[in-house]
Symmetry: D2
Subunit: 297 residues, 4 copies
Amino acid sequence: MNNPVGTELGRMGLVGIVYHPHKPEAQALAASVGRWLAEQGVASVVAPGRDGDQSQNPVVSRMAELSLLIVLGGDGSTLRAAGYAAPHGVPIFGINLGRVGFLSEADPENWPTQLAAVLRGDWWLEERLMLRAYVERHNQKLAEFVALNDVVISRGRLARVVRLGLYVDNDYVTTYIADGLIVATPTGSTAYAMAAGGPLLWPRLPNFLVIPVAPHLSLDRAVVLHQTAVVSVEVNPEHEAALTADGQGPVSLQAGDRVIIGQHEHRCLFARVGSSSYFYHRLMERFGYWHPQAASG
Amino acid sequence: MNNPVGTELGRMGLVGIVYHPHKPEAQALAASVGRWLAEQGVASVVAPGRDGDQSQNPVVSRMAELSLLIVLGGDGSTLRAAGYAAPHGVPIFGINLGRVGFLSEADPENWPTQLAAVLRGDWWLEERLMLRAYVERHNQKLAEFVALNDVVISRGRLARVVRLGLYVDNDYVTTYIADGLIVATPTGSTAYAMAAGGPLLWPRLPNFLVIPVAPHLSLDRAVVLHQTAVVSVEVNPEHEAALTADGQGPVSLQAGDRVIIGQHEHRCLFARVGSSSYFYHRLMERFGYWHPQAASG
Amino acid sequence: MNNPVGTELGRMGLVGIVYHPHKPEAQALAASVGRWLAEQGVASVVAPGRDGDQSQNPVVSRMAELSLLIVLGGDGSTLRAAGYAAPHGVPIFGINLGRVGFLSEADPENWPTQLAAVLRGDWWLEERLMLRAYVERHNQKLAEFVALNDVVISRGRLARVVRLGLYVDNDYVTTYIADGLIVATPTGSTAYAMAAGGPLLWPRLPNFLVIPVAPHLSLDRAVVLHQTAVVSVEVNPEHEAALTADGQGPVSLQAGDRVIIGQHEHRCLFARVGSSSYFYHRLMERFGYWHPQAASG
Amino acid sequence: MNNPVGTELGRMGLVGIVYHPHKPEAQALAASVGRWLAEQGVASVVAPGRDGDQSQNPVVSRMAELSLLIVLGGDGSTLRAAGYAAPHGVPIFGINLGRVGFLSEADPENWPTQLAAVLRGDWWLEERLMLRAYVERHNQKLAEFVALNDVVISRGRLARVVRLGLYVDNDYVTTYIADGLIVATPTGSTAYAMAAGGPLLWPRLPNFLVIPVAPHLSLDRAVVLHQTAVVSVEVNPEHEAALTADGQGPVSLQAGDRVIIGQHEHRCLFARVGSSSYFYHRLMERFGYWHPQAASG
């Protein structure tokens, strides 16, 4: 399953570096990474990441020129970077400064070793499905969203249920009475969807899933769909409802709104230097269920 | 398990009738019930129920004189009535005008038959545990709440987790990273707690339970506690958190707040005229799992 | 997603009919179907289905000549037919005589209408993934199995756990301590895997899943895999363990055995005459969660 | 909730010691414990535990004289000891030689410290509910069982469902189509019932619960019952079914059998020297969810 698209050292072009704007150690580390790359003969451009509009971000504005985007931060930083790196086919290499770092390939200690592997072409490319969502109101397309983890339609502040009708490829499936509904990618299957009781999707699957949060006398199972499926969620909130994408938002929804969700036309790319089986190892360690010796005990 | 505390017709004192203030049919039905009671020689006092302050409600102000409180509405109406009927030991008799009516004993068609049974003493008294909760901030006791279903501490509008530390009788139990935490009575075990994956507690049990909503790498099981247990939830929200009791509220919580929850000193009383096994029947019918003939098929 | 590979009436070749050997009405109905086909100018061959060896079954022995295989029975009959129809690319058309009939396209009342649609070419072909499994003991390949629903490795008669190590594509994933482990196709995702808490896989997905039954302090989520994944389960039973495939077996397993499971090289084909959305409708009706009007209510 | 029934050193009477018959270190440790007790002036009687008939066991035959029963083994040894210690009101003190040891109070390293605490009266008595079960066939009472963890009615060797009707206090509740049904005590709520998805019952609760294993379109929630409830399970297996109690058995069941389960008239007693909150600590450590500092972080 490896995708060995190694690039030799001499041919690595411009590298972008974005760092978490509010973590004090991030800026200094970004500078260190830049210096280290320069020592290897690789040019780089550095800027803080930010929420919202990225039009002034010097890394983002040169995305089309980049060979690699290094992201210094937690999974939140990586999720945001996915939105602007994927359309340009730029692979992401994450250095984890957060608590979780499921998407990262290095940490503040081992990054020179890991990056050196990338520079000498000893890496592989991982593709991950992303979602595109938009809100349809009175037959007009409103706000549009990109998500590497999930699109969530849920109750507002009050702990009361919303009523959501699910359609797949224009076929009615069922109606949920629940706190909310999660449409998640394989990447997102280990995030909020997992907390809601969902299955783990092997990360490179071209599938996505739908799962409710706290369903009341409604379907309580995840439904796993094909990559080409188009999901439509009809919003019938008796109380306020809202949409978030990768934790960004929320955007208020009104009764009668439809949220349309399908695969994004671009995949998010990650530069990986470890084994292609890293995912299971990392996941089971986190759960406390990694004990290979037990298997043959 | 029956509690046959039948009261003879001649001795039934004043009956209170509260009706849903926004359901058009409720007021007319309340008047009908009052007339019917008068025909049986029973005096009654009638008023619309309301949210919030009940000090001007003529039924509530005479609660100490009542022999029975008839509630016309859905389960929401009954939940609110529990708060003012229980301290006076007045049994509730619900006539269901809502969709659910799990707590009711009659509907708009069969109430004369059911009420007649009560008047001739052919009823039993069901006791249900209620919760009392208050917020502790900077060692001060803030708002206090009564709940027949549940006390919920949960995220605000944004679909992001909160971090909640659970203590039982001052012993630390665990920390939840979740959408929220539900502390539910047996009555509430068929409401939000059930949607969160909780067990069903036989309704007259003197127990209550704690269960998280969408826990992320945290304990995902309900914990069932003794009636005398005192639960303390330490709020460490990175984002906004809020408390609701029986769906009322929400009240905003701050980092460092503690919510203290234990049994209420009064039980909520219900006048029941059906079989003491009504609960299983009603519940399984609702689930679609009531098929006695299948058992011996 | 439809696969309209309609076949005109005149070109429908020999049709096989297998019927449930122990249901009294099945033989008569098989004869009726054969007569009806003859009236339409279509030749058929009829025989009872059976467990185990099919070498003497006159329908099975002519499988290579068949245009269609009609199965009269429940889902169990269809599961068995899948094993001998799929390698020859013969589509199955089920007439349900059982309680469930999730895989069937007709029932004893409406089969002439449904079959007529097939004969006039008004049908589509549904492909469903099957599994192939074998047991490896002391580096020798033992018994081999085909499954349209699932391969189950589980405890024997005693209600005690087994310990099972899971490998995917030779990468260790985790070790389960559980009653058993289910490897299920999308078709099987609505059978035993669903009872174990698994997700629903849209039936035409080229994926399969792994899910434990009653896991004890082990991974309790389904893992959804790619069609090319090869699963290996290492058996470390402290007590007896056994393998079943589509409910057939059980075959005893010994400590140290490995069960190797992957997609079958053939897909099981079904002739469908209804809407391509039949699956959600049928499933939600069965759950009691089909109420389209509620969606827009 | 502590039950401080401390006994002074001089008044500790005869102590029984039973040890796991097949663990080589158990016999030597039993002798060490006996010598240590003698040094403290306390007499003891030692014997290996065994399965089945205990009539020749010299410890069991003197149970009425004992002040304390020390059990050297895993939780299985403690479960068996519960059956003969509880009727005589003899508290159990477990020294864990097994993997789990949830019920134990000491291990091979710290037992002298823990036992010394008992001898000087620095302990408390924990009571735990036990179950009594019997099979009723053709109106005759067959085999009878005692269980500290659970009574399980389940499928036999073949991985096929059984159909089980549940009655509580003679009221029909529902019918399960499942791998089996677990009736568990609070002690058992952290064993098989937990694997089946059940809630945690605080160990000193006077409640028990019913939960199915892998229910198929049947009630999938635990039902928590009052201590006085009498559960009756009607067995309608299409295939073989069997009963186990605390993992002992299995006993074959026939269609039409009823299994009657209720609380045992005696509680199982444990001598505890640690904090009364030991349970949460031990449980959450085992889950990996014990991080008190996180609560206030």
